[in-house]
C-alpha cells in the first residue's frame, strides 16, 4: 500500500553456478545446520536454478546489506506471522516479494481485494516455501493447513455425512481458490452450481421438469462441508421440504413423532405409518428432486 517495491529483480539470466554463488552469500551461514531446513528450497521449484526465472535468496529476502554486516540486524524481508529471532514484515510487504513473480497468473488475478488479502494474510500464512513438501500444495495434507483457521469447516468435515476431505480424496482447492476468485466464497467457478457440476455433472441438466431452487444454488438444501443428515442435507424431509412447500398436499400436515412411525410410539388398528412422513418422507415418491427428464414426471416422481 505504501509503494512497496519487489526486493529484487526476479528473472535472471545467470547460470546455475552463478545463482548458487549468489545464494552462497546467505548459505555460508544458513547451512545444513539450521533448525528449519533452509537448503531444502533447492528441492522445490524455487531452487531449480536452470530455470531462468528462479529466484535467489535476495530475490525474496532483499539484498539485506545490514544483515550481511551484522546478524543483529534483520534481513530486509522476514516472512511468517510469528516473531522468532526477528519480527516479520507486514503481510502486505511479504506478499510483494511473492507477487512480483506470481501476480500475473490467472489463478491469482483476484488476489487483490479477495477475502484472504483483505484479512491481511501473507503467502507464508499457508505456504512453507523452503519445504520440499509444502503441505498446502499436496492433496492429502492441504485441508490441515486450511483448518488451522477454518475450524468450523474442520468440525463439519468430520460429521456423519461429509465429502472425503479428511480422507485426503478431495482438497479444499478442488472447490475453492484461496488466492481469490470471481465466484462466491472463493469458489473456483463463477457460481455454486457450476462448481458442484464439475464433479456432479448428472445434476446439470437442463431437465424437462426443473426444481427452481436446484437451478439457482445447491446450498439451498445442501451444506457442502458436512452434515448430521446424509447426504449433506441442511435438514431432513419432510421438514426440509416444508421450508419451501405448503399448500394442498401432505406438506401442510404437522408431522412430529409420526415421522418415527411405530417405533416412535405411533399406534392404531392397525398402525400404518405414513409414506409421506417416514423414511425418505416426501422423497419416497418425489425422488427426482434435482429434476426429471420423464415426460410423465412433472411432479418429480418419475
Amino acid at each position: 500500500a505504501e509503494g512497496v517495491q519487489p526486493p529484487a529483480a526476479t528473472a535472471s539470466a545467470k547460470s546455475p553456478a552463478q545463482m548458487i554463488d549468489r545464494d552462497s552469500e546467505c548459505t555460508r551461514c544458513h547451512d545444513e545446520n539450521e533448525t528449519k531446513p533452509i537448503l531444502s528450497i533447492y528441492q522445490t521449484a524455487h531452487g531449480n536454478k536452470a530455470d531462468a526465472r528462479t529466484p535467489s535468496c535476495q530475490s525474496c529476502h532483499g539484498e539485506s546489506v545490514k544483515h550481511l554486516a551484522s546478524k543483529s540486524d534483520a534481513p530486509d524481508v522476514i516472512f511468517g506471522a510469528k516473531k522468532t529471532v526477528y519480527t516479520p514484515n507486514k503481510a502486505q510487504d511479504q506478499n510483494v516479494a511473492c507477487l512480483s513473480c506470481h501476480e500475473k497468473d490467472p489463478k491469482r488475478t483476484h488476489w487483490q481485494g479477495g477475502a484472504h488479502q483483505a484479512a491481511d494474510l501473507s503467502c507464508t500464512s499457508c505456504h512453507v516455501v523452503h519445504s520440499a513438501h509444502d503441505k498446502v500444495r499436496e492433496k492429502p495434507t492441504q485441508a490441515l493447513v486450511c483448518f488451522t483457521c477454518h475450524q468450523d469447516q474442520k468440525a463439519q468435515a468430520n460429521k456423519f455425512s461429509h465429502h472425503p476431505i479428511p480422507e485426503g480424496k478431495i482438497a479444499c482447492s478442488d472447490c475453492h481458490n484461496s488466492h481469490g476468485s470471481a465466484g462466491p466464497k472463493l469458489l473456483v467457478k463463477n457460481t455454486v452450481t457450476e462448481t458442484c457440476y464439475t464433479c456432479h455433472a448428472e445434476k446439470r441438466g437442463p431437465f424437462l421438469w426443473e426444481h427452481q431452487p436446484v437451478t439457482e444454488d445447491c446450498t439451498n438444501c445442501h451444506t457442502p462441508h458436512g452434515s448430521n443428515i446424509t447426504p449433506l442435507l441442511k435438514s431432513r424431509p419432510p421438514f426440509m421440504c416444508d421450508e419451501c412447500h405448503d399448500g394442498t398436499h401432505n406438506s401442510i400436515s404437522p408431522v412430529a413423532g409420526s415421522a418415527a412411525g411405530i417405533q416412535g410410539g405411533l399406534t392404531g388398528a392397525p398402525a400404518n405409518p405414513s409414506t409421506s412422513f417416514t423414511g425418505r418422507a416426501c422423497m419416497n415418491c418425489h425422488s427426482m428432486v434435482h429434476g426429471s427428464n420423464d415426460p410423465a414426471g412433472a411432479l418429480l416422481q418419475r
Binding site: 439451498n220 435438514s235 412430529a256 425422488s287 427428464n293
Partner: protein, 757 residues
C-alpha cells in the same frame, strides 16, 4: 566435512521413499470404510512411493528437467497414482489416476432381482402380490416365502478418475496448458419410487398407486472434462483465454422395476403378477464454455482485474419410454392421446458471467476496492404441454417451466490502517436477482419472487494489541427485499378450461397458502457478528479463541420465520521441545430454524387473490442442530536418540439434530394421541464419533523406518429414519429395506516399512 556435505546433499537432493506393509481392519462396515477403502474386515496391502529425479536437482548441471512418481493407498479402493515430468520454465506433463469407492450401505435388502449398476429389476416368480388395501396388513406382514426372497445388496458408487495435464511455455510472455480428465462412475444409489396405479393384475386386483419400493438407481456415468488455456503476460497486464468443456454421459435413460403391491387380494402366482414401472434417470448433457480473464496494473497501486465467460449447456437425451408392457392386457401408456409433444427435450441453457474489480492503494494506509459481478442462467428450452397419467392414473397436464435467473452484484470497500496496529474495513454490497421463464405455455408467471434486492454492510476491525496478541471483530447487516407476491405457478392440470381468466389448477402462490413464502425467496433481515483473538503467549505456546453469531428474520406470515447460527472455537498449541508439540481444540456449533405452516383454510385451488384463503390452523416446527467436537493431538520426536517419533490424535464429536412441533389449536384427536403423533419432539438424530490414532515411526537404520499405527474408531448412530423401513413396521405400501443404522466400533492396525534413498 563429508558429514556436512552429506547433510547438505540430503537437503538439496530429493529423498525418495517406498512404503510397503499391511493394514488390518477388525470389522465389516460400509460406514467406517465409506471413503478410506477399508470396506470390510480383514487384511489389506499397504503401499506407496514417492520417487523424484532429474538433472534439475543437480546444481552442477545446466538442466531444469525434473520428474516424479507418486503412489498412495495402493492396496485399497482409495488408491492414487500419478507421475509428472517437466523442463521447468518450458514444459510439463502430468499423468494421474485416482480411485474412490464411496460406500452407501451394506444392509439394504430387497426382493427385487438385478445387478448393482443395472437398470431393470424384477421380482421372483414365487413372490406374489401384497394386498395393501386400507386396513390390510400390507408389506408389514409378508409371508415367510416372501420374506425369504429378500437378499442383501451392497450399495456403493465407484469413481475412477484419469487425468492428463500438460503445459508449455513459449516465452516469458506466452504459455499454454491443456488439462483433460475422464471420470468413470459405476455402482448405484438407493432411490424412492412410486408404483403406477390403474394397472390390472391377474386374479382381479390392480396395482397399488404410489406404493413405495427403494431400488438401486444406477450410476453408470462417464464425464469428460477439458480445460484449455492460453496465457499472456506483459509488463503491466496479463490475459488468459480459455475453453472449458464438460461432456456427461449416462449409459441409461430409464430405470424399470416390478411392483408387487396391489389394491386387493389376488390369487395370482408366477412371474406375471406384478406391475411394470419405469422412471427416468439423469440425462446425458454437455457444457461448452469460453472464458476470458485478466488483470492490468495502471500503476503499482492501481489495479484492474476482470473476466468474462459464456457457456452453452445442452441436453437432448431421449425420454424414458412411456408405453410400458404389463402382465395382462395392452401395455400401459403413461401419456394421454397426443400428450407427448417431443421425444426429447432439446434443452439449451446459456450461462453468462462478467466481473470487474478495481483496487487502489495510492493513498497512504487506505485500500479502496470497487467491483461488479454479473451471472445469468438463461434457459432457452422450449416450453410445451405434456398430457400424461399421474401415479394415481388420473389425467394430468403439465407445462415445463424452464427456469432462468440472473444476479448482479455491486461491491465497494475501504480498508484503512488507523495505526500501525489497527485496521478497519468497511464493505457495502448490493445484489439484485431476477427470475423468469422464457415462453411458458399460457404465459403465466412461473417463479416465486421474480425479483430480489439485497443491501449488505460489513464492518471488520483488527487490532494488534501487543506484539503477540491479535484481535479481530466484525459485524454485518443485510436487508433482502423480495418481490414475493402471490404468483401463478404455471404448472398443473390444463385439461380444464380457464377459470377466472387463468388456467385451471395454475394456482396462486404456487399452491401455497396466502402468506406462505419459501425461505430462499422471502424478504429477510440478517445480522451477523464475530470476534476472535490469537495470543502467542511465548515462542512455545499459542492460544486462539473465536466465536460467531447470526440471526435471520424472514418477513413471511407462513414458512420459515427465523433462523439462528452460532459457533465457538478454542484451540491451543504448546511446543514443549524440538519436534514435539501438543495441541487441543474445542468446537461448538449450533443452528436453529423456526417454521410456521397451516393445515386447513385453502381447500380448493385459488385462481384469483380473493379466492385464496389464509389457513385457519397454524402449527410450528423448530429445528435445532447441535455439534460439539473436542480433540487432542501430540507429536513427540527425538525419542531413543532420535530414532523414534510418536504421534497421537484423539477426538470426540457429538452431533444431534432435533425437531419439535407445536400444534396450538384443537384437533378432533389430541395431537399427542399415539394414533397421530402430530405434535411434540422427535427423538434426535444422534451421531457420536470417538477416534483414537497412535502412530510410531522407528528408524531402524539410516535409510529405513518402521511405522506402526493403531486406530480405534467408534460410531454410535441413532436415527429414526430407519424405523419405517423395517419388516413389520413399514407403512402399509412400502416394501421393507431393513436398512440398519450404521454404528460401528473398528480397530485398525497398520505395519509398514518405509525405505528412503
Amino acid at each position: 566435512l563429508s558429514a556436512a556435505a552429506d547433510d547438505a546433499a540430503a537437503l538439496t537432493r530429493p529423498t525418495n521413499t517406498i512404503e510397503a506393509g499391511s493394514i488390518y481392519s477388525s470389522q465389516n462396515s460400509a460406514r467406517f470404510g465409506q471413503y478410506n477403502g477399508l470396506n470390510d474386515g480383514g487384511f489389506y496391502g499397504l503401499g506407496g512411493f514417492d520417487i523424484r529425479g532429474g538433472d534439475g536437482y543437480d546444481q552442477s548441471k545446466n538442466s531444469a528437467l525434473r520428474w516424479k512418481l507418486n503412489g498412495s493407498n495402493l492396496g485399497t479402493t482409495s488408491r492414487t497414482v500419478d507421475g509428472s515430468v517437466g523442463d521447468q520454465g518450458k514444459w510439463k506433463v502430468n499423468l494421474g489416476y485416482d480411485e474412490l469407492q464411496h460406500n452407501i450401505t451394506d444392509s439394504y435388502q430387497t426382493p427385487l432381482q438385478g445387478s448393482v449398476g443395472g437398470n431393470n429389476f424384477t421380482l421372483p416368480t414365487n413372490f406374489g402380490t401384497v394386498n395393501t388395501a386400507t386396513g390390510k396388513p400390507g408389506t408389514r406382514f409378508l409371508t415367510p416365502a416372501q420374506a425369504s426372497d429378500f437378499q442383501t445388496e451392497k450399495e456403493y458408487v465407484s469413481r475412477k478418475n484419469g487425468s492428463i495435464n500438460t503445459s508449455y511455455t513459449f516465452n516469458d510472455q506466452l504459455s499454454a496448458q491443456i488439462d483433460y480428465n475422464h471420470l468413470d462412475q459405476s455402482g448405484a444409489k438407493l432411490i424412492g419410487t412410486g408404483t403406477q396405479g390403474g394397472i390390472n393384475l391377474p386374479g382381479g386386483s390392480t396395482g397399488k398407486a404410489e406404493a413405495i419400493n427403494m431400488i438401486m438407481n444406477p450410476t453408470s456415468y462417464q464425464t469428460d472434462n477439458v480445460n484449455a488455456a492460453l496465457n499472456w503476460k506483459g509488463d503491466k497486464g496479463h490475459l488468459t483465454s480459455g475453453y472449458y468443456g464438460s461432456i456427461f454421459h449416462d449409459d441409461y435413460n430409464s430405470l424399470s422395476w416390478q411392483g408387487a403391491q396391489a389394491t386387493g387380494a389376488s390369487g395370482c402366482a408366477g412371474s406375471n403378477c406384478y406391475t411394470n414401472n419405469t422412471m427416468s434417470t439423469a440425462p446425458s448433457n454437455s457444457l461448452h464454455q469460453a472464458n476470458l480473464t485478466g488483470g492490468y496494473n495502471f500503476t503499482q497501486t492501481t489495479k484492474l482485474a476482470g473476466g468474462f465467460s459464456y457457456g452453452y449447456n445442452t441436453q437432448n437425451s431421449s425420454y424414458a419410454p412411456t408405453l410400458i408392457p404389463q402382465a395382462i392386457g395392452t401395455p400401459y401408456n403413461m401419456m394421454q392421446a397426443g400428450g407427448l409433444p417431443t421425444s426429447s427435450l432439446n434443452g439449451v441453457v446459456e450461462t453468462t458471467h462478467g466481473d470487474l474489480k478495481l483496487t487502489n492503494q495510492s493513498i497512504k494506509d487506505l485500500t479502496l476496492t470497487a467491483g461488479f459481478k454479473f451471472n445469468e442462467r438463461d434457459n432457452n428450452t422450449s416450453s410445451n404441454t405434456y398430457k400424461y397419467k399421474d401415479l394415481g392414473n388420473a389425467a394430468f397436464t403439465g407445462v415445463n417451466t424452464p427456469y432462468s435467473n440472473s444476479k448482479a452484484q455491486y461491491e465497494a470497500s475501504a480498508a484503512y490502517r488507523l495505526t500501525k496496529a489497527q485496521n478497519v474495513t468497511l464493505t457495502y454490497n448490493h445484489e439484485n436477482i431476477k427470475r423468469w421463464c422464457n415462453g411458458v405455455v399460457g404465459g403465466a408467471e412461473c417463479v416465486a419472487s421474480p425479483s430480489t434486492n439485497e443491501d449488505k454492510v460489513d464492518l471488520t476491525y483488527r487490532l494488534k494489541a501487543f506484539e503477540a496478541v491479535n484481535f479481530n471483530a466484525g459485524y454485518s447487516f443485510a436487508d433482502r427485499r423480495a418481490d414475493a407476491a402471490n404468483y401463478l405457478a404455471n404448472s398443473g392440470n390444463y385439461a380444464n378450461t380457464t377459470v377466472g381468466g387463468q388456467n385451471s389448477n395454475s394456482v396462486l402462490n404456487g399452491g401455497n397458502y396466502a402468506g406462505y413464502v419459501a425461505y430462499p425467496y422471502a424478504s429477510r433481515i440478517q445480522n451477523m457478528g464475530k470476534a476472535g483473538v490469537t495470543w502467542q503467549v511465548s515462542q512455545k505456546l499459542d492460544v486462539g479463541v473465536n466465536g460467531r453469531y447470526s440471526y435471520d428474520s424472514y418477513d413471511a406470515t407462513l414458512g420459515v420465520q427465523n433462523g439462528r447460527s452460532a459457533g465457538v472455537n478454542v484451540d491451543t498449541t504448546y511446543s514443549y521441545a524440538e519436534n514435539s508439540t501438543v495441541s487441543a481444540y474445542w468446537n461448538w456449533q449450533n443452528g436453529q430454524r423456526n417454521l410456521n405452516s397451516g393445515t386447513t383454510g385453502n381447500g380448493t385451488a385459488a385462481y384469483t387473490p380473493n379466492q385464496i384463503v389464509a389457513p385457519l390452523n397454524v402449527w410450528n416446527n423448530q429445528l435445532e442442530d447441535n455439534s460439539n467436537t473436542v480433540g487432542l493431538m501430540t507429536r513427540r520426536g527425538g525419542l531413543l536418540n532420535g530414532k523414534l517419533e510418536v504421534i497421537g490424535d484423539a477426538s470426540y464429536a457429538l452431533d444431534t439434530t432435533g425437531y419439535s412441533t407445536q400444534v396450538p389449536y384443537s384437533t378432533a384427536t389430541a395431537c399427542g394421541n399415539s394414533t397421530q403423533l402430530t405434535c411434540g419432539s422427535l427423538s434426535p438424530i444422534k451421531n457420536e464419533i470417538m477416534s483414537l490414532k497412535l502412530t510410531g515411526h522407528y528408524k531402524v537404520h539410516k535409510n529405513g523406518k518402521v511405522a506402526l499405527t493403531y486406530m480405534y474408531q467408534k460410531l454410535n448412530s441413532n436415527d429414526y429414519f430407519y424405523y419405517g423401513q423395517q419388516f413389520g413396521t413399514t407403512p402399509n405400501s412400502l416394501m421393507p429395506t431393513n436398512l440398519q443404522m450404521q454404528s460401528y466400533a473398528v480397530n485398525v492396525v497398520a505395519l509398514s516399512y518405509n525405505y528412503s534413498f
